[in-house]
Subunit: 351 residues, 4 copies
C-alpha cells in the first residue's frame, strides 16, 4: 500500500479523493488546498484524513509516497517539479500543463528523478476504451481508415480555455491510447466559431490525417442541447461504434464494409449501380461497468510498484498537448499546421 | 390536371413514375428511356402508360405539359434546354447540372421560355423540413448560430462523383431551404479522405461560415456501418434537433442555452465554475408522415398552375451547385475557397 | 404465372392489389368490390385491370386461378366456400373467420376441393419472423421458456371487435409460426379494461402457459401514445429480443442467462447474494428489408405450384381463432379457460 | 442535525451509510452488523464512525436519535419494535416486514411511541417520480385510465422470495405514491411461471383494477437479458411515459388520445374506419439528476423535525405489503383475490 495526498479540492479533486480513499492499494493521508474550508468539507466529518494548506509542508513529509494534482493547468508544472524534487510520484489532471514546453520539462524531470509521472486520461480506463484498444491491437478491425468522434453537450463556457482545450483532450487522449503507435498526426486543421461572442471558440472541428491516407475528425461543441459522445472507428475489415450514452450497448462491432474490387468492376459503367458490399452481423461485446477513476488509481499504484511507465504516461500527455497547440495555431492561421516541433520534442525526450 | 412524361427509368425514375401516377394533379402519359425493356418493366403489365425511346418524339408531342428528368447529371442541361424549347415545364433531379455554368443556362432558358424549372430537392418536402423552415421563420429558435449536419451510412461508392457530390446536396439544399435568405456562404472549406484508394473522397467534411459569426458543418461518409441522418440547428433562443432515423421523434425543440451575461460575470474568476444555463423543457412537435415525393409532384403542379416559382426553383439548385464546386476547389487546394463567382452568377440571373 | 382477383378494395385490399400487380408469379386480372367507384380508384387510371361488382360473375370466370379475400371477417367463410366450389385457390385476410366453427368448415372444404387455403398472417413473412423461426428451429435459443409480447399504440377503437381480436392475432399467429409444434396452449387467461366506456376492452393482457412450465404473455393496447412492437423470447440457452420499431436492429440474440446450478448452491445461504450468471455478447444478425406482403404473394403461388400447404395454412388460422375465442370466454368468466374444444377440432381436421 | 446509526452493512446498507455520512442533516454515529469485519470494511479506514455488533448496546445509547434498518425482511419487525421502545425514529428498507400482520404492529408501535416510521421506497424520491406525482395531482393527465409497468432485467434469483416480492414492491410503492388516494385495489390477480424449475416464480404478471374501470398491470421478470424499466400512465387528457433507462428523456407527456364521441358516431358503421384521434405534441420536462437516497435521508430528517409523517410512511409500506400478500394468494389459487383484509387493517389503523 502506498500513501498519497491529493492537491486541489475543487472540481475534480473530490472524485480523486473518493477513489484513493476506497482503493485498497492506497492510503489517502491528506488533502491539500489553499481553501481550508473547502478541503475540510470534502474530507467530511468523522474522518482522520488530514487537511493541509501548504504544498511545501505537504511535500516535506516523509510519510507520503505520491501526490495527485487537481489544480488549474498553469500550476501543474511547478507543483509536479517540486513533487519530483521531493521524491514523490505524481499523477496530474489533464491537460499535463498549459503548454507543451513546460510539459516536456515535467517529463524530463520525472525521468531524472526516476519517479512515475502519470496523466489522468480518465476515459482510457473505462472498460469501453480498454476493449477498443484490445480489439484494434488484435487486428479485428484491420487497418484503421477513419475515426469520427463527436463530443457535444450543453457545457460550461470556460473562462480560461476554448472548446478545443476543454473537450478535445478527451478525444485526443483516447486516440493516443487506442491507435497503434499513438497519436502522431503530421498536420492539424482546426475550424471553429464563436457565435455567442464569448471571445473564444464554442464550436470546433479538428481534422487530423492518419498516416495511411485515413483521417480522424473531432467535433466538439459547448452549445448542443443534446449530449452525444460517440466515436466511429472505421477499419478495413470491420467498423466499431462506441456510443458512450448507451450503457446497454456502448460498443458494437459491425462486419460491414465496401469491397473495392467489386467497385472497380462497376466503375467501368457510367451510371451508379448498387455494389455488393458486405452487410454482416453486428456483435455487441459484454462489458463490465466499472468506475474509470478506480482504474486510474490502481494503474498508478501498479506502475509505481513495478517501476514501469503507466498506460497513460507523461509522454502521452505531451503528445495530446502538442496537437492542442497545433490546433490553436491552425485556428489562428486558417489552414493546416504541421506538428513537427512537438514531434521533435517528443522524439528528443524518447532518445 | 396536367400531363407529364418521366424521362429516365433507372434508379430514381420509378419513384417519380409511381408518384405522378397516383397524384390527382397529374396524368402520367409516358415514360421515356433509351432502354425500352427497362421502361416497360417499370410501367408494368396491364397499363396503358406509353413507353417512348426517343426524347425528340416525346418532346414533339402536344399532349404533354411537363417532363421530369431523372437521367445522369451531365444530360440534365441538354434535355432541359430542349424541353423548354418545346414549351414544356421541367422538373430535374438533383444536382441541377454537372456544373454551375450550364446550370445557369438552364435557369435563364426557363425564364426566357416563361416555364417552370423545379429542382427535386426531395427532403425539402418532408414534413420535418417544412416544419423546420416554419419554426425558424417564426423566430422560435432566434438567430441561427450553428448548424451541424451528419449524413453517413454504408453507401455506394459512386463511379462518377465523390461523397461530397453524392450526399452533401441533400444537406446543402435543406440549408438553402430553411435559412432565411438561403444558402450564401462567403467561403467553403472541405476536407476529405480516400482511405480505400477508390480514387475519390469517401469521407468528407464541409465548413461554411454563416454571415453572423456562426458556422455550418456537414459530415458525409460512405463508409459508416450505421446510418445517421441528424441535423442540429443551434439558435440564440432554442435549439432544434432533427433525427431522421427516429420516426417517433424526428424533431425536438430544446429550450436550452447559455446565458452569456451570466458567463461574463463568471469570466472574472480564474477557475471554471458552473454557470446557470437554461435547462428547460423539450417539445416534440407532432408531424404527419407523408411521402416527400408526393409533395414534390403537388408543388410542381401548383407552381405551373399559379405561374410562380416553386419552393425549390432552379436558383436554389444553382446555389447548391455553386457550393459543391467551391468544395471541390477547396479539397484540391487544401484551404478555404471563396464563392464569389457563383454568387455573382446568381445575382446576374436575378437581375 | 397464375391469375388472381382481389375481393375487397377497402382497408387492406389496396395493399394486396399493389403486391399481386408487381409480383412476377401473378397476373392480377380483376378487383371485385360492391362499391365500383372504390374499386376503380384503387385500380387507377391507365390500367386494364378489370373491375367487378359481382362475386358470382367473378367466380364463374375460367381465367382466374385464385382469389384473395379482404372483406369483413363475417363474410370470409361464405366467400371462401363459394370460391372452393368454383375451383379457386383462396388467400384470406386474418382472422380466418369470425368464429372457429365456420373456420373449420373452410379448412375442410379446402381439403375436399384439393385447393390451397392460405391465411394472410403477414408478419410471418417478414425477414425478422422468418429468422426467428430459423433460430429457434436450429436450437440456438435452447428450449423456449417464456415469450413476452407487447403490441401497443394509439389505435383505432374498432366498431366490431375489441383490442384482443384486433391486435392479438398478430402475436398469436407469430407464436404459432415460430414455436415448434405451433400454438397449442391448454388454457388461456385474459384480463382487460375499458376505461373509456367504449363498450369493449381497449387494454388487454393474455396469458398462455407453454407446455414445459413456460409462459407466453401478450400485452395489447389501443390507448398508448407510443408505439411498441416488441417480443422477448427467453430460451434455456439464449434470449432473443425482437424490436420491430428499430429497423437498424430488429433482432438481437443475447448470450445471457441464469445458471441454476449456481443458484442451487447459493440457495443454501439465507441472504441474497449475487450469482454468476452468464453475461455474454449480443449478436445482431443482418436482415434484409423486404415487404412482407410480397412474401405472402410469393408463398401463395409456390404452394399452389407445389400442391403443398402454405407456411401459414388454414389450420394455423384456425388455431389462432381458437385461442381468441378462449380469450373472449376468459374475459367474460374472469378466470382461465381451457382450449380443448378447439384443439379437438384441430385434431379431427388433421385426422 | 440528528444522529443516526445504520443497522446492517450488507447489500443495501453501504448505500445508506454513504448517504447519511454526506447529508448535512445527519451525523452518522455508528454502523451495526453482526459481522464486525464487514461493518469495518464499509466504514473504511481513517474514519471515526463507530462499529457495533450488538443491537441492544446500540439502542441503549442516548446519543442516537434514529436508526436505519437494512437487514433481512423477517428481522425488520423485531428490530423496529425494539427501536421504538428505545425511543428512536426508524427508517426501514422495503418490504416493511415479511408479512402484513407484523407490519401493522410496527405502524401501531410507531404511533404509540410518537416516533417516525419511514419506509425506504427509494424510487419515490427520484426527480422523475416526484414529477409524475405533481403532474397527476395538477390534473395534467386527467383521470388515470391505465398504468402499464414493466420492470425486467437479468436479475438475481433470490433464495427467499419470488420475483413478485423482489421487484414488484418498486412498482407498487410508486403507484401508491403517485395515485391520488394511494394504492387500494379491490382485487389482485397474479400469474407467473417458473420455467427454470427454481422453485418460485421468475416471471410474473400482476393485474390490479383501478376504481374507475381502469387497470394497472405490472410485468416483472428476472430472466430478461435486456433491462426495461418503463411505466406508461394513460390519462383521460394526456398520457405520461416514464422510461427510466433513458436519462436524456426519462419522462415524456403525450398530448394524444382517443375522442370517444367521434368513436360513437363511427360505431354506427359496420366497417372499421380511421377516427380523428388527437395526435398532439410531446413535452419532455427538464428534470434534475439527483440521487434518490439523498432525498430519503433528507425527508427522514424533515419528518422528524416537523413531527409529521414522511412522504412514504409505514402505512404506505403496509399497503404495498397487503397487495403482495394478495398476489401470492392469487398465484396459489389461480384467480383474483380480494384485498379487503388488508384494507380493513389499514382502515383500522387510520381510525
Amino acid at each position: 500500500m502506498f500513501s498519497i495526498a491529493v492537491i486541489g479540492a475543487g472540481y475534480w479533486g473530490p472524485n480523486l479523493i473518493r477513489n484513493f480513499r476506497s482503493n485498497p492499494a492506497w492510503d489517502l493521508v491528506a488533502v491539500c488546498d489553499l481553501d481550508e474550508q473547502r478541503a475540510r468539507k470534502v474530507v467530511g466529518s468523522r474522518s482522520t484524513v488530514e487537511v493541509e494548506t501548504s504544498v511545501e509542508r505537504l511535500l516535506a513529509r516523509d510519510d507520503i509516497d505520491a501526490v495527485a494534482i487537481a489544480t488549474p493547468a498553469r500550476t501543474h508544472a511547478p507543483l509536479a517539479l517540486a513533487a519530483f524534487e521531493a521524491g514523490k510520484h505524481v499523477l496530474v489532471e489533464k491537460p499535463l500543463a498549459d503548454n507543451a514546453e513546460t510539459a516536456a520539462l515535467m517529463v524530463s524531470a520525472a525521468d531524472a528523478a526516476g519517479k512515475v509521472l502519470m496523466i489522468d486520461h480518465t476515459f482510457c480506463y473505462t472498460s469501453a476504451v480498454q476493449r477498443i484498444r484490445d480489439v484494434i491491437a488484435a487486428g479485428e478491425l484491420g487497418e484503421v481508415l477513419y475515426v469520427d468522434s463527436t463530443r457535444i453537450n450543453l457545457g460550461l463556457v470556460q473562462p480560461d480555455v476554448d472548446v478545443f482545450w476543454d473537450l478535445a483532450p478527451h478525444d485526443l487522449s483516447i486516440l493516443d491510447f487506442i491507435l497503434p503507435g499513438g497519436l502522431r498526426p503530421e498536420t492539424v486543421t482546426a475550424s471553429g466559431a464563436d457565435p455567442l461572442g464569448a471571445g473564444k471558440a464554442c464550436v470546433g472541428y479538428l481534422t487530423l490525417p492518419l498516416g495511411n491516407g485515413g483521417i480522424a475528425h473531432i467535433n466538439v461543441n459547448w452549445l448542443s442541447p443534446t449530449k452525444i459522445r460517440q466515436m466511429v472507428i472505421g477499419g478495413s475489415r470491420r467498423t466499431l461504434v462506441w456510443d458512450d450514452m448507451n450503457p446497454a450497448q456502448r460498443i458494437s462491432i459491425h462486419d460491414r464494409g465496401v469491397d473495392l474490387r467489386t467497385q472497380a468492376a462497376d466503375a467501368a459503367r457510367r451510371e451508379a449501380v448498387t455494389v455488393s458490399y458486405r452487410m454482416g452481423d453486428v456483435v455487441v461485446p459484454a462489458l463490465k461497468e466499472t468506475e474509470a477513476l478506480a482504474g486510474v488509481a490502481t494503474e498508478f499504484a501498479a506502475a509505481i510498484e513495478a517501476g514501469r511507465a503507466p498506460q497513460t504516461d507523461g509522454r502521452s500527455g505531451l503528445r495530446v498537448l502538442s496537437v492542442l497547440e497545433a490546433a490553436s495555431a491552425s485556428l489562428a492561421s486558417g489552414g493546416p499546421v504541421r506538428t513537427d516541433g512537438a514531434t521533435v520534442a517528443d522524439r528528443e525526450l524518447v532518445a
